[in-house]
Symmetry: D2
Subunit: 150 residues, 4 copies
């Protein structure tokens, strides 16, 4: 009897999907750190070309990171339904992140049949968890004829 899984998509499975099917995620240095039924943690591995004037990490990198964290959190629950798509996304930028990795911790606020709603707090490794750099919310639409990737 197989042990009960603590997620419907592992970090390895997610990163395999990302490698094969989300090439822009590599452009943004994104990779999954952990995925569970309660949420997901995604990392943007720093590169100097993510910096904007003033020397802080550019907003679009943080938005791509949070969006990917939502995707991982949802797929961790419903499995590899690749065609789940963002219907809206919103971010508040709280502090300018200095050069360094950014971590997004996403959690599901609601997982319905048709819509999933998530929030994420983003922290900079340089500033620590006490000083979040951004907060995001977003909604994903889950296709009704969802076919999982085998």
């Amino acid at each position: 009897m197989p042990a009960p899984r603590d997620t419907n998509l592992t970090v390895q499975e997610f990163n395999r999907i990302a490698d094969a099917r989300l090439p822009f995620a590599a452009l943004m240095g994104l990779r999954a750190e952990s995925i569970g039924f309660d949420g997901a943690v995604m990392r943007a591995v720093h590169r100097d070309d993510f910096l904007r004037p003033g020397g802080s990490i550019a907003g679009p990198i943080m938005m791509g990171l949070a969006d990917a964290a939502f995707y991982a959190a949802i797929l961790g629950n419903i499995g590899a339904v690749e065609l789940a798509v963002t219907t809206n996304f919103s971010m508040h930028f709280l502090r300018k992140p200095p050069p360094g990795d950014i971590l997004a911790r996403a959690r599901l606020l609601k997982l319905g049949k048709r819509l999933a709603v998530c929030e994420a707090t983003l922290c900079s490794e340089a500033l620590g968890d006490e000083q979040p750099v951004a907060h995001a919310t977003g909604t994903y639409s889950i296709p009704q004829d969802a076919k999982k990737v085998s």
Copy 2:
């Protein structure tokens, strides 16, 4: 006597800033098409690595595009104040854009001393202007000791 300018930052000046100071904009294929006092148009030049499962353009590319269009619309009015930063950003995804360039048309809803608010409609060249693919709003904070880049 110099002719009156129709903007405080030209497309050429913006693209020069982008080349020198926004390296992630190149990652996302972004370049300014037009900048005026009433707004700005920005283009994401298509690359196949912008596609996500289902074959449509990934959301983070569209978010980066709209954010850059807001930046151009604001700098078109206040000049090259590079340290203007996004304080919040929100996007609704309306239709899945097929492969092809995306255009963001941004306009200023408000230009205050401290905050500027913008909206943008994003269209796919493949679908045409009648079928927008996304709509974005955002707020930028304008530094009070704003020094323009010469």
Copy 3:
């Protein structure tokens, strides 16, 4: 042969629904001005108890107004599907509206089978249309077994 209608819900029909079924709309002084396939205009009739410190119209009155304008714009297209519900709502406050009526002009950005996305610009009669006081976007979920109210 009946003349073609220019909407699937008239102003009179909407206001009848509001009177019977949206009692909070009366608390907020809301009434429909016009409804068409391309959008709807809703008015918040001024009362002094809508004012907040500083003497401007309180934000929640403007949020209720825009949300009702979205509802009218959607029902104008799909008919009296009362159970359509907001799934998200966002507003940018642009200027402080002085005492006086506020008008919200809503238009549909997308009308899908399951989701409708709207935007609205809010103007104060005291300031005029050139100085909008707020901008809103929102998404409504349309029930699949939608039964119209006869």
Copy 4:
């Protein structure tokens, strides 16, 4: 020597401001439950005229509740700066709240000199805390010449 306060505005002080200066808050049944440096809890006391078609609490009541909770959370930190104003507000609606009181628990994500950013989770007393009915984020602008009400 006075004991250190655990807030710069008490529940009693906030409710006194609301009674005198936020008459729409009474329309929406709002009253502060607790205020501290870490956030605030606000309640919308149920009335049947808050219900919308389907028998659930109308969205604008929840938006007004969250906006007031943000205001209380901020004034709890900076004192009675009545002229602090919302610059943007966003809400995700997660579940339809049945008739009954709604509680908004707000916390500060950032308190800067010019801007404060908050989030709130809204729960229905009928459904319990495990099933939040809405999630909100918002930004307030803090006037630089802020004069506190004595």
